[in-house]
Amino acid sequence: MLEIIGLVAGLLVGLFAPWTIPSQWSLYVAAGLLAALDSALGGFRARIKGEFNLHVFLSGTVGNAAIAAFLTWLGQKLGIPLYLAAVVVFGTRMFQNFAEIRRQLLTSRQKSDKIKQDVVSPQPEDTK
């Protein structure tokens, strides 16, 4: 819940902030944005699964964004659209993260259902 509030707050701040990005930096921001989006989803997933580690999260966020920006820069120097690497990797990982979040949420609900069931009908041998 808090995550969504944070997202909306960021959107509002961005919309009403007086700055814009010059078009030559647009690609870097897009790459950084993808990295940040991936980190946010990854962090959310880790928190749901209960394996969240602040240091892993922060280093991943900053590091991924830096590598994405660096790849974009290098790609522009070399004439190869290297930022596509970031797009593909983060894109794929977003799907993976989403899948895990989905599974975690659904199965936790099923588990709680099952626990309730077990409480109502105390026949552990049959339910198995």
Partner: protein, 250 residues
Amino acid sequence: MNKRRKSKGEVAVVVVCAVVGFLVAIQLKSVKLNTAVDDTSASRLETLQSLYNEALDKNEGLEQQLAQAQQELAAYREQAAAGDETGEALKTEIEHLQVAAGMTDVTGPGVTVVMEDSSQTNVTGDEADYLIHDSDIMSVINELRSAGAEAVSLNGERIMATSEIRCTGAVVTVNGRRYAAPYVIFAIGDPTTLYNALTMRNGVVDVLGQWGISVKVTTSDQLLITKYNGTIDYQYAQILPPESQEEVMG
């Protein structure tokens, strides 16, 4: 301790979410702004277009001045030729040469050729295959001349000995002026010969038609081809007197 850690993690994720939102918003705004900038350059294009049109108008005014000067020159010539036998002969020769050089309006029977870009769907992937090129226009004009066309104009621009037909981007430059498709060619000559020369099998019209470029040829009894309305100015070529001509050739 554990709880504090958890809340710290929560805060970190929320902060990253906020950063994501911020970046999304800023990026969206920038992309929108950049498109707006493109629109601005479009309006700049319009300004340049109107400036160009103004220059064209000015050019037209100068052409009128030129026509006036030419009229005066003709009057002087007539005065000089009046009452003089050799002068009369010279006058007819000048008139004759003026037709050949494209310095006078001429009328007569001939053909009208209208060339339009292809309306076919692009299958080769190369858009240029389906557009009219300078070489296409030149091959049509060349064919007309070969069939005995005496005067030719392209979109009202007289084709003279020094006329260029050159590709300049999406348009074609003729006598220093730019023209875009459709291209209308007038040619004065024997209508049947001209018509047949263009429409023969494997001829120009046939070949261009394979790309879907439409070339319509119609014969007419009366065509008006206007004169070249610019100046002819020779900077490097000099006229040799007849005696020295023989020396050079020998």
